[in-house]
Point group: D2
C-alpha cells in the first residue's frame, strides 16, 4: 500500500510565533503523526500550499486537482484548512480510480489537546477501506464530498440533509 | 451513527503505579480520545474485561462473542491487548450484519508519544466505511481477521501471506 | 507555605480560536500546571489582567503593585507576557518582606512542547528559597529585577552586564 | 552558570516495554526537559546509575558522594527514584561549597501527565538560588536534607516535624 499525503496548510499545521503573537502555517506535522502512530506502510508527503483555507482560490483548487489527475498514485490524504474543506472536496469529484480523503484539524497538531492525530488516523483508514471517491474525515465521521458542510457556530462538520 | 466501544484491557489502558513500580490496566482512555478527537457521533463504552491479552482465555473470547451476538448495535470498536488480538479477531468471525474493528496500542495511551489516538481514529473510520466483518486496525493499516499476525520481533502487525 | 499566584495574561495563557485563526489570552493554566506537578502546598490564583505584555500600561503596573502592597501574603508568583516582563519586574521593586517571582512562557502552556511548566516549577522553587525581593525565572535562570533583559532576536532572557 | 546533572534511575526515566508489559529505567529525559524548558545555561548530564531507588545500596550512595566530592563543579541536580531519595540526600550532607538538589518524579517523564518537568524546573531554580547544602525538590516544595520523608500512603513528600 502506498499513500500520497498532500498538505495545503490550515490549522493542522499552525505554529505560534511569539514575536508576532500570531499563528502562521508551519512545517507539516504529518510525518510526526505517522511516526507516533507507528504507521508501517509506504508514503510520501508533498507540500503543495501553505495557506489558511479562507485564502484558497479557484486556481489553488485547480492546481490541486491537476496535481492528482496527473499523478500515478491511487490513494491520497489531503490536509486542508477546515473553513473551505467542503468546497475543495467537491472540486475534486469525478476522477476515476482515485480515493481522496481530506482532513485537517480544529486545533493545531502542535497543541497538547488536538484532533489532528485522531483525524489523520481516520483519513488513513478511510483511504484504504472506502471505494474510490472523495471523502472528508472530520468530527469522528467520514462524509462523502458534496454531502457535508462545516457548521461554524458549532465548530463541527455535519451531513447535508 | 452509533458505535459501541468494548474495552478488554491491554497496553492501551495501562497505567503506572509508583508504589509497585509496575504497570496495570487502568480506566479506559476511549472517552478522552474521542473527546480530544472532537468526535460528534453517538456512542457508549462497555468495559467487559481489564486484562493483558496474554491472559485472555477461550472463555473470555466466548463471553465477548456472546456479548456482541446478543447486543442490538451494528458497529463495534473493541480495544484489546496486542499480543493475542489476531486470535480474538478470528474468534469473532461469522456474525451477520455486524462490523467489528479491533484496535489497541503498542504504547499506553497515557504516554506523551503513543499510537493509541491514531489507532482509535483508524478504528472509528473503518467501522463506518468497511463492509460488515471483523477487522484489525493497527500499524497504520486495516487488516481482515484471519489474515493478520503480530510480528513480535518487529513489534508490528502484518498481513499473513 | 502559602503562595499567591497572580495572572496578567501573556503567551503562557494563549489559546487558539479557529474561527479567527488567531491567538487570544484564555483561562489561566496555573492550576493545571500545579496539579500535574503534584504541588502540595496552599495557594490561590488571582486573575488580575488578561493582556499581551506589549499592551500593559503604567496604570496596569501600578494596579499590580497596589494589589501586592495591600495584600497580606508574603510569596507571589506573577505570570506575565515576556516582552515587557523586565519592566514590570522593576516596577515592583522596593516592597518590604515580599518575595515576588515573575514568569511566563515563550510558547503557550497549551502546546505539546512548551516552557510553561518548567518555568512555573522554577518560579515556585525560587519564591520559597530566595531572599525577599523581585525576580524573573525564565530561560532556565533566576534573574534579579533590574538586571535582566529579553533578547528578542534570540528569544531568551539574559543578564544585563 | 554551570550545572552538572547526575542521573541515577528511578521513575522519572522509566520506559514501557510492551514485550514484557513492564517498566524499566530508560535513557535520561533530562536533556529533553531542559530543551523544552528553553534552558539557556551550560550543563552536562552524567549517567551514574540506572536503578529503582529501592535497589540503591550503601555502595551506590558512597559512589555518588565520591563522585561529587572529587568533581570540580559547584552546582548539582541529581535525579533519583522517590522511595529512598531522603536517605540518599542525607548521605550527601557535609560537603563544603556544593549545592546539591535531588529530584525525581512520581510519574514517568514520558507520560502525558507527569510531575517530572515541573520538578526539574524546581531543582534548577533551587540549585542556583539556595545556599550551599543538600535539598530535595518534590511535591512543589524545597526541603532540606534530613528534614523530609516520603509519605508512601499519600504519595507525597513532607517536612519531618
Amino acid at each position: 500500500m502506498f499513500i500520497r499525503f498532500i498538505t495545503t496548510g490550515g490549522t493542522i499545521d499552525k505554529i505560534y510565533f511569539d514575536a508576532l503573537s500570531q499563528f502562521e502555517v508551519g512545517d507539516s506535522q504529518i510525518k510526526h503523526i505517522l511516526t507516533d502512530g507507528r504507521a508501517e506502510f509506504d508514503y510520501d508527503v508533498v507540500s503543495l500550499l501553505q495557506k489558511d483555507s479562507l485564502e484558497m482560490t479557484d486556481e489553488d483548487r485547480k492546481a490541486l486537482r491537476n496535481y492528482i489527475e496527473n499523478d500515478d498514485a491511487g490513494l491520497y490524504v489531503v490536509t486542508h484548512g477546515t473553513d473551505t474543506m467542503p468546497e475543495t472536496a467537491e472540486s475534486l469529484l469525478g476522477m476515476n480510480a482515485k480515493t481522496i480523503v481530506l482532513t485537517g484539524a480544529l486545533t493545531p497538531a502542535r497543541f497538547k489537546t488536538t484532533d489532528a492525530i485522531f483525524n489523520v488516523g481516520m483519513a488513513v483508514a478511510t483511504v484504504q477501506t472506502a471505494a474510490p471517491g472523495v471523502y472528508i474525515a472530520m468530527s469522528g465521521q467520514v462524509f462523502e464530498a458534496g454531502k457535508v458542510r462545516k457548521n461554524r457556530e458549532q465548530n463541527r462538520f455535519e451531513q447535508l440533509l
